[in-house]
Symmetry: D2
Subunit: 244 residues, 4 copies
């Protein structure tokens, strides 16, 4: 019997507590909205964690039992403790999957794993986004049509200061005239990382079926691959072949 | 219930009939050796096809019912009918996975999908090969250690005239002084392609557990991703937004 | 003293002879419009060739003296002789640069080098295109701002059935709602290939400064890199290290 | 007239002062050995900087006047001030080229730009290395044959914990049985980064013509591409198209 994928959904969980618009859309917080639809999958088991918990809810023990971590943050990136960032980073290099959502582009953990500023253009005008699939054979595109639309969203535009993705799956069109690499896959260490753009807190984007489908696909893609190789690289090592 | 992955193992099947050394190692042919270990997997169902069958055993019907095609050829690449090559090519663009083994680097179908000569250095001296894993988080590397060895093999060396792989998973070391990109992943159309170097007919390489593990992993990685998007691209299309 | 880059601009040259709109924009043909601005560069020397010349103007001798070939074709791709396609293909693998323009996406030579169908969505409505730079440090982006606009153009939309580019430099936004990977770099053999989307025959796109800048940059990027390595790969080869 | 490429060669410069073997090979330090052969090029102007200088010789002013920075460090990576690392990092994102040599794989600046541990296997046995060219059309491969050899070196072996390179140009073979991705190109921000493996301090590797050729090629490849786009990404931005 196959083991379930153990997912932890992390959320800053501040907008929902202070902004009635956000609270109306996500009464239990974005983390619970995501945990709810993921938890309905037979092969996934979910827990949540938030910024204001001890150690942001990300103890070593929680991370050790996490196969895929989802990350939503926006206005309190600087409040995330560097020690916890380091802990998450080490788990990714060990193989834990990481799915970074929307404004998580500026999370310390994403910047650290990308090695770039992760800056971008942005505008909050509630405009339309159309997300195009450019790599149809990728498992994260499973079940999508040529594109899907998000009726109202915050715009993120290029140039997005990221490394060229190992696989670029989605590109967004915006009504106001911009484009954006919206679905980006990376391998880092033994871990897999997926950046997924949609998901602004003032719109019900995580209630949208296509968005949920992409996140479910991404969880399955990002799950760790068991490895016999210990440690990650090898360190000092004797020759495998005779040297004169 | 998950559907089984429908695999077709294609083999030129000429060496086994004329060369007693090869026949001793693969009495039923390379295709049956591979089909045997794949067929033991609960999520895989296998059939075989060979060059000398009608339409090389690759009728449209067989291909339509194939999720992943494995290809082993060596001395009769030129005998493969161009029409069948075109048929396989179209199925790959539609989403069928293709795993090209060893001397299949010179198969018409591989050259057509790569767009390059696929030439390489080679030497048949029965030397040792050590296959190193360079992308440990890739599903094709699942269950491998840092490296595995093939005691005796034909050497393939760089420069291998292929496009840079979308993911490079394995690099080989050879006793005689060469290196080779031995495990290369590509997306083409909706299909996924894996080139896997090991497997010369005069050595029992497909009986080796690590080689079988890589091929099993590759089958699961290469299986098609169901897509709603029809046709592949779209052709002539009206505007999605109003144009003045 | 540095040698000049020897460019050949190839054009189908049919629209200009039969369509007065096109003839008004490109009185001497698209090839001459491009040759004119390239020829003003101190480090470039240009010649042209067209479909209706003997051997389409692409004799072995011409190709042997070409460092970078530009290719514009549209309605007569099928008239290009397979033997000439093979000749161009071999020169690319040997190191000649190839810049494929706009509707050249369906040229036999591009399909052969890509290994995919190169199909796409399209619409001829004279809409606006905005071309965004996503890899600002790439030499082909030199001198560009965040984006440039093409006031009226034919739309090409995703999914563009190409291999993931080795470098993706430009992504287009279209007024009608689509996006497109408009500037794509590839290595094939020893040659470098750049696909550049803009350039429909019924709009004066090759007269636009930003478009000319991209083409000049691309010529410099695509020029061959002298190699001592002969032949391309190596063929049968004795061991470099002693084998027991 | 073309501007010269302004190179700064940075060296830890500790081994040379304490180890007579190293001092015998590089009497003026590794930085001067490299600066000497680069300084002979008509299109390059060179300066040097070392760890024990104020601000490690890398003042903002020096970096602002540096087009390409070369980095050699080994036993004192931890002594490099985080503020200077940040300064170099920002310059790379702005467009400065960075060439990281040999044991610089563990430099803070390289780890920060890669987002991974950059760990590897290693062995100091003076064994032979053979460096194979796998992307012959890349400008960094210009003038190389199929391979070159380094008679005696420290071994670095896979798994090298780096992101998959944007272009992989060189792969090394080692006598003791390992392989290594020895020439790796990356775009980060507007900057270009080249990691080049050869160069252990106890062997005269930087006196070797092929090694010098690769470094000269890399300097030319890594030089900044002038950009009109300010700032890097764009920040908050009004719509380019009318929104209802």
């Amino acid at each position: 019997m196959q083991q379930k994928i153990r997912v932890t959904v992390w959320n800053e969980y501040l907008h929902e507590l202070s902004n009635p618009t956000v609270a109306a859309i996500y009464p239990q917080g974005i983390h619970h909205a995501i945990a709810d639809f993921l938890g309905k999958e037979a092969d996934i088991t979910v827990r949540t964690a938030v910024l204001r918990q001890d150690e942001h809810g990300l103890t070593q023990d929680v991370l050790d039992q996490t196969d895929v971590l989802l990350w939503w943050g926006h206005k309190a990136h600087h409040e995330v403790d560097d020690e916890i960032v380091e802990r998450v980073y080490n788990r990714v290099l060990e193989g834990m999957g990481l799915i970074v959502l929307h404004s998580g582009h500026y999370a310390k953990i994403f910047q650290k794993l990308m090695g770039t500023s992760c800056s971008l253009r942005w505008r909050e005008s509630g405009e339309k986004e159309r997300v195009w699939v450019v790599e149809q054979g990728h498992p994260i595109a499973q079940g999508l049509d040529h594109y899907f639309e998000i009726p109202q969203t915050e715009m993120y535009g290029e140039r997005f200061d990221i490394p060229a993705p190992d696989s670029l799956v989605l590109i967004s069109w915006f009504q106001g005239g911009e484009v954006f690499r919206s679905g980006c896959c990376y391998h880092r260490g033994r871990g897999k990382i997926f950046y997924f753009r949609p998901g602004h807190e003032t719109y019900p984007i995580y209630h949208q079926p296509e968005v949920q489908l992409v996140i479910r696909n991404a969880v399955r893609w990002a799950k760790p691959v068991p490895s016999l190789a210990q440690p990650l690289s090898g360190g000092s090592t004797p020759p495998l072949e005779p040297l004169e």
